[in-house]
Subunit: 282 residues, 2 copies
Amino acid sequence: MLKVPEHQVAGRQAIDGKLGPLIDNSGHFYKPLQDDDERGTRELTFYHSFSSNTRIPHHIRRFFPVFHGTQLLKASDGSGLRPHLVLQDITSDHLNPSILDIKIGSRTWYLEASNAYIQNCFHRDKTTTTVSLGFRICGLQIYNESGFWKPERKLVRNFTADDVRSILRMFVSSNVGPEPDFSFADSVYGGCDGILERLMELKTWFEDQTMYHFCSCSVLLLFDKESFLKGKTPFAEVKLIDFAHVVDGNGVIDHNFLGGLCSFIKFVSQVLADSKGSTMED
Amino acid sequence: MLKVPEHQVAGRQAIDGKLGPLIDNSGHFYKPLQDDDERGTRELTFYHSFSSNTRIPHHIRRFFPVFHGTQLLKASDGSGLRPHLVLQDITSDHLNPSILDIKIGSRTWYLEASNAYIQNCFHRDKTTTTVSLGFRICGLQIYNESGFWKPERKLVRNFTADDVRSILRMFVSSNVGPEPDFSFADSVYGGCDGILERLMELKTWFEDQTMYHFCSCSVLLLFDKESFLKGKTPFAEVKLIDFAHVVDGNGVIDHNFLGGLCSFIKFVSQVLADSKGSTMED
């Protein structure tokens, strides 16, 4: 039985008769190939290239959803059979995951794109935190006792640098409000299994790899309080998603992704440092 | 006696009755403050801020020209007395310096700039290597037996990624031609006094500093074959120049400069690796 993903925080959704991704109960995520543009084909091309690429180190492959090929499925918009990418559903191991979707890079367009696409992205990049911070939050949900806090798209789009800092604090607090308690900061962001360590691994790879440029790609942070409290691992994960705009690196590092990633790392580091300051003051 | 700098490879030049920088015989570089825009004021503001900033580590300060205040001087365009920045002439210690001027960053504009300025930069960034490589060569001179090779501005503006690789090879070769011999690669780019080590120091600082965003700023590489052959140090230097577009970092790292710097580091590393391969083959 296919259904609409419960924990999707950004991107096109399979609701109100629209075309969007579906999941099943066995941990698969089905992403429809669009026919209105080249995105689907591009993403499929990337997954084919990446999954057969022997130069990807094992510890880097873990950041990417597993690719299981394509499958013809009834599309969510009622338009009939349509090819779907079959991917790993990265939320399926989590009961109540808090999720941040962060689009990395100070530029979401690329030279090979159409002029209209470039102008559209250029405008969006300037009016969100993309240009100023080198990344923008695209969507999120944060779990707390009363359920999920999942701000509307319009609100997310207007986030400032200070909003980003607040979100990163709330993400690791037991409360969702103006006075975060940083309960989980040390274990989620810090330590050798923490998110910062994972981001540093990614950074090291991006300083070297010249195969792909990940335009408009997101880093997804997942953290499951229940898994953490039950001592399950991993309770926090870092994944890369959305490869519809990956282009050939042509022997040059992805300086756009790398710069944005370094900026995001600095933000997370500062929240971790603040949390230590706040604990010491207590 | 003031004169036109002999080793200026980019920027406005004090020739043909135009306004440009001047030097004297005691190691000073006089840069006129423009009155047609805010550049001069901005650069002066930066030098004032930077030179009194106690949070700049000593090893980072060495990358910047020493600032000696301002002075009223007869402008090179004959327009009379005009305030000039008084800076260290970073070429004065070198007899025949080979110089590369590399404008760092995949974006030379900034959100605070005027729309006209942004559009102008946006176009230039797309049509040079700025967007694709995260940096562009703005000017250069390479010394060899027959004098300096100093390509025209028009040629430099059309450099491709492959041209950049060729230039980085020629910079450390005893000949200027299609078959570089990499004679000086190991000592100029490699080693603990080499350019790569200096660039890595800068990188480490840029991963952390959130005070300034260095838009449209250049890294200058200087290398003096004669100093090298005579065993003088430093025979190779890395300097930062052009701060007319430095803006407040607002607590965010300069991800634009950092990304471009990492890309440039990768290019230099590859030339160094190629030179070792070529030596082993000899």
